[in-house]
């Protein structure tokens, strides 16, 4: 761009700027003119208004004088310039009569305030709601409220003030009263045991100390909580419904029970009363909630309900028919059993309220004696005195027991209670019991056993006839006495011991020796048992006595006899022993003498003489055997058994070696014999006697004797079998008796087998034979096995 062109551009721009400045100046000129016009217009308007105001003021002055409220115009020193009639009447002063200075009317308490207010008035030109106490001309004190404004002259200089006075004494009083009431109310609210809270739209704005204490929250914590936050309704539907109704304006207050949650988490049941406070549009402005702790009452009520339930269940299930009538004879309460007893086809609940006036008449047919039933009821009802255990017999055989209890409250008759109990069973039971008792009583009285009952102190409670006879005492002499003292027992310690046993609950039998009243000695067998009461405690003992005097005497006699017998047996044995010994020595002398004679005089004696001497010697030998046998027999019975293990094989072979066996006879033992527990000497004797017996009685060319054995659980059985001459049957038993011998064998003493029997007897065994003459004999015997090495006696 060249500078020429640039100059042109700048010129153009400058031109635009100049024009713009001119334009701006023009605009400003226009604005200035507008401003001037506006201010001029305003001035004129102001002037107009002022004159209008002055006119109005004058007009107002007149009307002020006519207004109803007291109206006063005063100068700036509070001297009244003008006042209307109302003011004159109110204040009691008339400025036309006397000069009135308003400051003089002000109560001294309000002087400072008045001064301040006056200055505000001067400064601001107006004052509203000046309130003070003034004293009227008649010395009355009044509260007034004054609205005042200054009055200016044309030069806007204040020259006076005008004011309208309102008598607010009443309002003030009301205010005071209200304040007082508010104070009182606050005191009440603060100290009320009821929790009180103020809520707006459910939110708590204010709560009194009780409310805080009840719930454990501080006032601040409660603020802005809602009642719903801290509680829940016990009956939810109802209270929500009511709250809605309250908001709708249908109700102003309602009560409900709510469960409150305390700060510590516990619960509180409270009766909650909510009242709505409405504004003039009938909207709920706030709600006053009062709560009353009824946790205790709720609990008490629950308990009451529970106990009522228990009671009614109790009554329902009572084994007694119950009928409670009120004073108008209407049924208040009855139970199932009552209905059952009288076959009433209705439930106990249905009967409530039923009239009982005609009940007796209607139901009398159920009773055996209807007329006296009705009469009795009428009598009871007119007496109104408690009756118990009236017995009623019913047509169907049942027996009822009836109680009547009148109910009085503070001496006023309030109804009565009938109770019925079916006692048929217990009556019948009692009867049966009575019959049983009679039966047993007669048995006891007539039985041959003496019966005595004593208590724990041994005092006789009961005796029967037999006992009296046994003891020879009468019943009167026994009853109530100490048994030990009356009954003369030889050994008293036994009774003490037995009584002790009874106390321990033991029963047993024992014998005592007593002297009856007559002094005769008696023996009693006593069965004693403890006596129990209904609850199972021992209250004494019962003794059943059997007089065993006779048996006892017999027994004693028997014992005596046995003793005598033993003695004589013993004597006999000794005698036999002595005799056999004493007899043997002369016998031996005779034997020796006869032998000497035979040897010394063989040459002298002829054959007959020698033979006679020989025979004499045989007889002596026989005599010797006899005596030995008797000796053995007597000892077989008496000597003690010394048991030991004996091998019978040895025993038998010893026997074979030691006894005389004819040459043609063989003794064989085909089986192995057992080892037995027994007395060796006795067993040796036993086998030797039988074997010895067998070998000498064989006449056959070849004799055979066998020893056999068999065993049962408790016995050994042995058989000694021979093929000898045999024993005729008539001797089969006889041979075991002493001094019995078969045949003519001179060597047989007739004692051997009786010794066998004795030994076998001592081992509880048996001995017998079977034999045929000419064929042989089987000797059998058994021995009881001795177990545990216990000796057999």
């Amino acid at each position: 761009m060249d500078s020429k062109q640039e100059i042109i551009l700048l010129k153009k721009a400058l031109e635009r700027q100049k024009k713009a400045r001119i334009q701006a100046e023009k605009i400003l000129e226009i604005k200035s003119k507008e401003l001037y016009d506006t201010s001029f217009h305003l001035k004129q308007a102001n002037h107009k208004l002022e004159s209008l105001l002055n006119k109005k003021t004058a007009a107002l002055n007149g009307s002020f004088l006519d207004i109803i409220d007291p109206y006063v115009i005063m100068d700036l020193k509070a001297n009244v310039i003008n006042m209307n009639l109302s003011a004159k009447e109110f204040l009691g002063y008339d400025h036309t009569v006397e000069p009135v200075n308003l400051t003089q009317l002000v109560h001294k308490d309000y002087l400072d305030y008045t001064k301040e207010s006056f200055q505000i008035l001067i400064k601001a030109g107006t004052i509203k709601n000046y309130r003070a106490k003034i004293i009227l001309k008649n010395k009355e004190e009044r509260y007034v409220q004054i609205n005042s404004s200054l009055i200016y002259d044309q030069d806007r200089k204040p020259i006076a003030a005008q004011g309208i006075i309102r008598d607010i004494s009443q309002e003030t009083e009301i205010k005071h009263l209200l304040a007082e009431q508010k104070k009182q109310l606050n005191i009440i609210v603060e100290n009320s045991p009821l929790g009180i809270a103020l809520t707006v739209k459910g939110k708590i704005i204010k709560a009194n100390p009780s409310f805080c204490n009840l719930l454990g929250y501080s006032t601040n914590e409660l603020k802005n909580q809602t009642i719903k936050d801290i509680s829940e309704p016990v009956d939810s539907l109802d209270s929500t419904d009511k709250l809605v109704k309250m908001n709708d304006g249908e109700i102003d207050n309602f009560s409900c029970i709510r469960k409150y949650l305390r700060k510590d988490g516990s619960h509180l049941y409270a009766k909650t009363h909510i009242s709505a406070v409405r504004n003039n549009q009938n909207e709920v402005e706030f709600q006053v909630t009062t709560i009353e702790d009824i946790t205790k009452e709720m609990k008490a009520e629950e308990k009451l309900k529970a106990s009522e339930n228990r009671l009614s269940t109790l009554i329902l299930n009572l084994q007694t028919g119950v009928l409670l009538e009120n004073e108008d004879r209407k049924i208040s309460l009855t139970n199932q059993l009552f209905c059952d007893l009288f076959q009433i086809p209705a439930s106990p609940e249905q009967l409530i309220g039923a009239d009982c006036v005609d009940a007796a008449e209607q139901n009398k047919s159920l009773f055996k004696n209807p007329d006296s039933f009705v009469a009795r009821i009428e009598k009871i009802l007119s007496d109104q005195v408690m009756v118990v255990s009236d017995e009623l017999e019913m047509v169907d055989g049942r027996i009822l027991e009836r109680d009547y209890i009148p109910i009085f409250n503070n001496g006023e008759y309030k109804g009565h209670l009938w109770t019925y109990q079916d006692v048929t069973l217990s009556r019948n039971y009692n009867r049966t019991l009575e019959a049983q008792r009679e039966k047993y009583s007669s048995i006891i009285a007539n039985m041959n056993l003496g019966l005595i009952e004593v208590d724990n102190d041994d005092i006789i409670q009961m005796v029967n006839q037999s006992f009296c006879q046994m003891s020879a005492y009468s019943e009167q002499e026994l009853l109530g006495k100490k048994a030990k003292e009356v009954i003369n027992i030889t050994d008293n310690t036994i009774i003490n011991e037995k009584n002790q046993k009874r106390l321990e609950g033991k029963s047993d039998s024992y014998e005592i020796e007593v002297r009856d009243k007559n002094g005769s000695l008696k023996h009693w067998m006593i069965s004693g048992a403890p006596r129990y009461n209904e609850s199972g405690a021992i209250i004494g003992s019962i003794g059943i006595h059997l007089d065993i005097t006779e048996q006892k005497l017999l027994q004693l006699e028997k014992l005596e006899l046995v003793k005598e017998l033993e003695n004589s047996n013993k004597g006999l044995q000794e005698y036999a022993h002595i005799v056999s010994h004493d007899l043997k020595s002369p016998l031996r002398s005779i034997m020796a003498l006869s032998t000497w004679m035979l040897e010394d005089y063989r040459e002298v004696l002829d054959e007959a003489g020698q033979k006679n001497l020989q025979l004499m010697q045989d007889k002596i030998e026989l005599m010797d055997n006899l005596i030995s046998g008797i000796l053995e027999y007597s000892t077989a019975n008496s000597s003690n058994l010394v048991n030991s293990d004996i091998d019978l094989n040895c025993v038998v072979s010893d026997i074979i070696d030691s006894i005389y066996i004819p040459e043609h006879v063989t003794v064989a033992v085909p089986v192995k014999l057992p080892t037995v527990l027994a007395d060796k000497t006795k067993i040796h004797q036993l086998f030797q006697n039988i074997i010895g017996n067998a070998v000498v009685h064989i006449e056959k060319e070849k004799g055979l004797v066998e020893v056999l054995c068999s065993e049962t659980e408790n016995y050994w059985q042995f058989t000694i079998k021979d093929n000898g001459v045999g024993i005729p049957e008539k001797y089969h038993t006889k041979i075991f008796e002493i001094f019995q011998s078969v045949g003519t064998n001179e060597r047989s003493s007739g004692i051997g087998l009786s010794i066998v029997k004795k030994i076998v007897d001592r081992y509880n065994g048996r001995v017998w034979i079977d034999s045929q003459v000419g064929i042989g004999t089987n000797f059998h015997f058994t021995l009881q096995k001795i177990k545990n090495k216990q000796p057999v006696t």
């Binding site: 761009m1 640039e6 551009l9 700048l10 153009k12 721009a13 635009r16 024009k19 713009a20 400045r21 334009q23 701006a24 605009i27 400003l28």
Partner: protein, 180 residues
């Protein structure tokens, strides 16, 4: 439209593109005011539209970008003219928040005939503000420039996003989040 917008616009054109462009666009537009503007006067809005369009043609930059740049320029100019207004705020969000209730009230006192856009505040936090610009002029980009420069003035910056509630730009929602 207030004269100050025209005078400042031309000032910007002159400083950015030179007096020749100023002269050219004034000549080109055949304006009723002949391009003579005083800040205390009021002129037809269409003249501004014409000037912007003409400038756009002359310099080859689209109108909206020009308007946005002008907004940034205008904030500085207005700040020079009325520094007390900006001084009474100590942060940009406070200033933005008060446009409608404070600044425009004062503008209206000086120029009762001024036609001002409205800024309706939707939401304000310590770091953000969202508001709706509405004006029959549809100069929302101007507002955008002003807002951005405002943050710069307080040595700050902001994420300024806008959403056209009406297609012609007469109603636009601004969401402004202060950085840092």
């Amino acid at each position: 439209m207030k004269g100050i917008v025209f005078t400042e616009f031309l000032e910007m054109v002159e400083s950015e593109f030179g007096l020749a462009v100023v002269d050219a666009i004034i000549d080109e537009c055949d304006l009723p005011s002949e391009g003579i503007y005083t800040s205390v006067g009021t002129y037809d809005f269409n003249e501004m539209v014409a000037l912007i369009k003409s400038l756009s043609n002359n310099v080859g930059v689209d109108s909206n970008t020009l308007i946005f740049s002008f907004g940034r320029y205008l904030f500085t100019s207005l700040g020079k003219a009325h520094p007390e207004v900006i001084q009474s705020y100590n942060n940009p969000l406070g200033l933005l928040y008060s446009i409608e209730d404070h600044i425009h009230v004062h503008v209206q006192k000086l120029y009762p005939e001024a036609e001002l856009p409205t800024f309706k505040i939707l939401e304000k936090t310590d770091t953000s503000i969202s508001m709706i610009y509405s004006s029959s002029r549809g100069l929302y980009r101007l507002a955008h420039g002003l807002i951005e420069k405002c943050f710069e003035h307080y040595n700050g910056s902001a994420q300024v996003s806008y959403e056209l509630l009406k297609a012609d730009g007469t109603e636009v929602k601004f969401d402004i989040i202060q950085n840092g």
